[in-house]
Each structure stands twice: as structure tokens, then as C-alpha cells.
Symmetry: C2
Subunit: 357 residues, 2 copies
DNA sequence: GATGCTTTCTGTATCGTTCCAGTAAGGGGG
DNA sequence: CCCCCTTACTGGAACGATACAGAAAGCATC
């Protein structure tokens, strides 16, 4: 277990001072190529590896970004995470992935864990904005860029990327109406989650505009896990009067709903039509495949990554090695002004919706 | 953006020296409770947070463990990750989750990233053991505990946890034989992945013991993604002569296979029976639900976590604050002797297998 | 009252970087 | 020849914690 070489060892080996080696490491323009080559050669020969702790201690930058999502078992979030990770890595940042596991109580503890890891940026997808916001604000004031992934009030003090699926929701409702459905149920997760509220509002207003109204006994609250969706759907669909179509808050819940219908001897879409949200890949392989609301995941992830990086670089006028030219361009240091990106979702019609029997 | 307080600030505030404050932070037994209380109070009032970089620089410990899995879109790995994470956190370690995304070429780069983060331990699920082993050995020699998650040759120089599904495979084959199946196909992922080789050997020998033999045109090689499985299954099942049952290397591939069968107008299990591996939760909600080989995920994750922690603590006779009593107990510092945990899998019969038509 | 042993606490060196002020060498201009 | 500027490099002080040797006080022992 031999000791790792340090820049001092490298310096001795190549005959320069440790300051010079450090400058080479930072890719400083003050160092001529010939010197860099010699230093790199020495590093190579010694198997030198930069010590991240020392660097971070000195620079107060970890070059890591944390993301907290609601449920890693939902492929939707995995896809986002993977895209964000790729983009961040291109700019020299690592992504640390965490999840609250659909438990609102865990959100703050998980955020604390990431703060403990001293990330430079934080991407937060929360189920309970009101609860985490005060702490996030503190964190942001301490110099850590915070970005909200998900619905955001107009005036919030964070950069945010939002998927606006109101139009897609309306489109989905029109789609169901066109197929003859009038009796539509709604299966949703924890009521605190803001975007759900938005979706439910669209659900209500669209129904009302069509001369219908929400039937409360067809609105099921449940958790976000498959089991929760299954139980909720089963109890919804075994009612004496049951809806002919069901809106599920995400594709996982939609699949569970279909399974529940099948277990009750109902066919999908013959007896019940089901619409999901997220367009996870598995939904197109499910039998029947899911009609769902598709979000522009790549663009969403990109927005999150870019805002995070921009925020980190902005608050950081000091260290030149963290500078990312492509990001700097076109961005004035707006200071308190917050960025807001809104992306539109669309409807994908597949097998799980059909004409009312 | 005020500066974070340091132990020096805390020391000044409560009138002790920074050494004392540090000892309190390390929960040293040398400090009386009364003093600890005073110090904690000062910390509280200042909003002190321990600086991880400084600590890690000094102690050469990051209190972080890295895990690299093959595919985060496969819930099997997510479940493992979640369990491992919980256990590690109980002992004060963070888990950093990464994935090679089923690309063997990415395994080494991802490992390098984790090394760059200076994790104390590394849990590796590799698709190509031969390729990563030399590097892992180096890493281990530098003092980072490496644990292999997955198949492992008897003499390998790493701790390892393995799921032995040979018996379950045989059981599954017997199950298919009992249902009248003689023509069985095999859909597998990248051929380098060691456990697949094991499974295929069991497949072959079981067939041969039943007086049958492997038909090469029914053995499909494909990647691990849903799309790959779908394409492979479609081409397999559209052969003039097709198998009446198909073994898929994991549940994702099994679901894709079922979808492919359906798209070819074949019913499952009417025309084709399908067996998967992993027992992911979604498999029981799929229509038809999956017959699959179930691994003891919790025990597996626990084995991985415990071996990782034990290895970290073992190589680390110095710092008392990393000591974990429950782990130390019953473990002698065996030095070079490597731990090996083997867990047995079992068959879960559900709807996707049935009598041969 | 000198000695030794705890218990409780402290001063200082150290971890491996980066930052900053500054130096030495070389060249050009007056 | 002196001055100034640029280029290439360097020494030493941080960063915020832990490690270690040792000090001071209290008490028991002989």
C-alpha cells in the first residue's frame, strides 16, 4: 500500500516547483507547452492522481452536483438523471444521484446529505415545495446553486425547469371525449405534489367545459408505488358505478391500473380506457401499450444541467479553471434574476385507450 | 454569502481549544458529557457544519462508497442500490451510484470516475470481469476495498457476493418439461457477462440430461435493453420452426419477448411460454405476469454492504471514529483471505408459463 | 511531599492542493 | 546603461480539519 505521489513528488521529478505543477494541472496559459509536456511526463511516470480533497478544500468547489428525484424505480427519473449526468460530465462535474423514495419526509434529510457532501449545485424534484423551499433558500444563500425540476410558481427565488402538460392533458381529455367517454376517474399520488394539483385543475375544468363534473368517489388518492396504484385502481373499478376511463398520474400507476382491471375481469381498453403520464419506454411494451403524455425528457434534462452549470459559474468569479466558455457566452451575470424554462408535453396514443363499449 | 464557521469559531465561542472541538466532533470518549454539551450548543448557535474536504484530506477517508451497476433502467439494480445505500448510511457512509449503461466499454471509465471521487470502497457489478479485474486489483492495493457483485471465480482476489441461480435454473427447466415443453429458446445479453455463461451451461446440461440438445438457431444474442430483447425475440419467434418456450436472461428481456410474441399474433403462454430472471416488481403486474427466477435481493445487498464496510474498517487500523463495533465483532483481520458469500435463487411461477398447446 | 496515574484539555505539525505576491531573465526603447 | 515590460517560474501562506505529544489539575499511594 504505497503512498500516492503528490504534486511535490511530480515537481521534484521534473525539476520544476510545485507551483508550476499546480499551474499545469489548472491548464494555465502562462505555462509554455514544452514545460507542460515535461510535467505531464513526470505525472505519467509516477502515476500521479490529483487529490480531490485538497483541491476542494482550497478552492471551495467540489465539482459535484447533487440531484434528488422522487423515485428511482420510475424510469422517467432515471432517464432524466442519465441525461443530466452526461451533460454535467462534459463540463467536468460529477452527478450524485439521490432519491426521496416518494416519501416527502425524506426530502429534507436527503438534501442535508447532499449538502454534507458539499455539492456545488443541487437539482431538486420535490413533492412538497413549501416544505423544502426555506432550506433551499438558505443553501442558495450559502453559495450553492439550486435548481427546481418541476412545477414552480412564477416568483420563486430559484432557477427552474418545468414541464407544462396542461395542453397535453386537455388533448388527452378531448381524445377520451372523442372516444365516447364521459365517466372518467383520476388516480393520483400524494396530494402535496404541486404539478398534480395543476393536472387535476385541468382535469376539472376540461370536464366542466364539456358540461360534466368531477365525481369525487372516482378520484383516488394513493402513493406512487405500483402496489398503491394497484390497490387504488382495484377499489375504484370495483365500485357499483365505475368510470369507463381512468387517468393515472404516471405510467407506473397506469400499468398497475391495467393489471387491476384485468384482475377484476375487465378488459383494457374494452371495458376501461387508461391514460398515463411520462411515456416510459416500458409503457410501449406493456400489453396493452400505454396511451400516455410524453415529456421532452432530453430538453428537460438539458435545461436542468445548463441552469445548474450557469448558476455555479456565475457565483464563482474567482477560479479560472471552472470557467466554461460555451456557458459564459450570451449570459450576463444577472445576479438575482432567476431563469425559468418551460417545456411542452404531448399526447401519445397507443392501445390502452379505445372507444367506449 | 457569509463565510461558513469553522471549528476555530466554535472553539472561540465556547472557550475551548479547537482540538477539543475536534475531539467532540469525533465523539471521543475522553471528553466529558458536560463539555460536549457546551460545544454542541456553540455549534448549534453558529450553524457550524463540518467541512468534509478538510476532514477527508487529513484522514484520507471520504466516508463514501461507490457502486457501479450495469443498468439503472433495470429495477433489479435499483432495488439493490437502495438497500445497500440504507445499510451504508447507518454506518455513516454515503453511496455514490453509477452505471455502465450496459456498455462494457464504459465500465473502466466509470470506475475511474469513482476513483477520482476517492471513495473508500467500490462495489462492482461488471459485464466483463477479465477486463476490469487488473485495474480493480491496483485500486485495492492502493487501499480501496473492492467488492464484486456477481459471479466470481473461486480464487479471485476480491470479496464477492454471488447469486447462485443454477438450482433455480434447473427448477425452471423442470417446470417447462413438466408442462410438456421440449423446444426451448434462449435470449441472452452480451456474451462476455460471466453469469450468463453459467446460466447457459445449466440450460445446456439440463436439456442434455433430458435427452434433448441446444438448437443454436434458437439461441439469440442481444443487448440488455428492451428494444434489443424485442428485436431478438421477434426474429426468434418468426422462424419457420419456433420454440414453444423461451428463457430470457432478465425480466426486462422477458417482457420485451412477450410483447414481441403478441405482435406476431402469438399468445403467451398459449403459444409460447416465457421465463425471466430477477423478479422485478413490475413483472408481477405485467400481463401476463412473469414466471421468473427470484434472487434474495435484501440478503444480497446486505452481503455487499457488510463486506464493503468490513473491508474498509479492516484496512484502517488508525482512525477510531470509523470503527463500527457490530462489524468488528467476530471478524478477525484475515488480511489477504477473501470473503465469499453465495446466495440461492428460487423459481416463482406465474402466468407467463403454461402447458404446451 | 514526591511519585504516579487519570482525566481533561491544548499547541503545533500536517494532509495536498491553490493562491498570491514576487523574482529572475530576456528583450526593447530611450 | 537604466528602466520597464513580458514571460516563466517560485516560495510560502492559506484552506479546515485531525493526529500526536504533552501539559495541567486532581487524587491516591507510599
Amino acid at each position: 500500500m504505497s503512498k500516492q505521489p503528490t504534486i511535490l513528488d511530480v515537481a521534484k521529478k521534473c525539476g520544476f516547483s510545485k507551483s508550476t505543477v499546480s499551474l499545469v494541472l489548472q491548464n494555465s496559459t502562462e505555462i509554455p507547452e514544452s514545460t507542460k509536456a515535461e510535467v505531464f511526463k513526470a505525472m505519467e511516470e509516477l502515476g500521479y492522481r490529483r487529490n480531490r480533497f485538497a483541491r476542494s478544500l482550497r478552492t471551495r468547489r467540489s465539482h459535484a452536483v447533487g440531484i434528488i428525484v422522487q423515485d428511482l424505480l420510475n424510469p422517467f427519473y432515471i432517464e432524466i438523471v442519465q441525461h443530466v449526468e452526461q451533460l454535467l460530465r462534459k463540463h467536468g462535474y460529477d452527478l450524485i444521484v439521490t432519491s426521496s423514495n416518494t416519501d416527502p419526509e425524506l426530502e429534507l434529510p436527503v438534501i442535508e446529505r447532499l449538502v454534507g457532501l458539499q455539492v456545488d449545485g443541487l437539482i431538486v424534484s420535490t413533492m412538497d415545495y413549501e416544505r423544502v423551499a426555506p432550506r433551499l433558500k438558505e443553501i442558495q444563500e450559502q453559495g450553492t446553486q439550486c435548481v427546481i425540476a418541476g412545477p414552480a410558481y412564477p416568483g420563486i427565488p430559484f432557477d427552474a425547469a418545468t414541464i407544462d402538460d396542461a395542453d397535453a392533458m386537455r388533448e388527452a381529455m378531448e381524445h377520451l371525449f372523442a372516444l365516447g367517454h364521459r365517466d372518467i376517474g383520476f388516480i393520483w399520488g400524494a396530494p402535496t405534489f404541486q404539478s398534480i394539483g395543476v393536472r387535476f385543475e385541468v382535469f376539472r375544468t376540461t370536464l366542466e367545459r364539456a358540461g360534466l363534473s368531477v365525481r369525487n368517489e372516482w378520484v383516488m388518492h394513493c402513493g406512487f408505488r405500483l402496489r398503491d396504484g394497484y390497490d387504488a385502481a382495484k377499489s375504484l373499478l370495483s365500485r357499483a358505478e365505475r368510470p369507463s376511463a381512468v387517468f393515472a398520474l404516471n405510467d407506473m400507476l397506469a400499468m398497475a391500473t391495467i393489471r387491476a382491471a384485468r384482475d377484476l375481469g375487465l378488459s383494457v381498453p374494452g371495458d376501461v380506457s387508461v391514460v398515463g403520464v411520462d411515456n416510459v419506454e416500458l409503457g410501449s411494451f406493456f400489453c396493452p401499450s400505454l396511451t400516455t403524455i410524453a415529456s421532452p425528457i432530453t430538453a428537460y434534462a438539458e435545461a436542468l444541467a445548463v441552469m445548474t452549470l450557469a448558476g455555479i459559474e456565475r457565483t464563482d468569479a474567482v477560479t479560472p479553471d471552472t470557467l466554461c466558455e460555451p456557458l459564459r457566452k450570451g449570459r450576463k451575470p444577472t445576479g438575482a434574476r432567476r431563469e425559468r424554462v418551460v417545456l411542452r408535453a404531448g399526447l401519445v396514443v397507443r392501445e390502452s385507450t379505445g372507444e367506449k363499449a
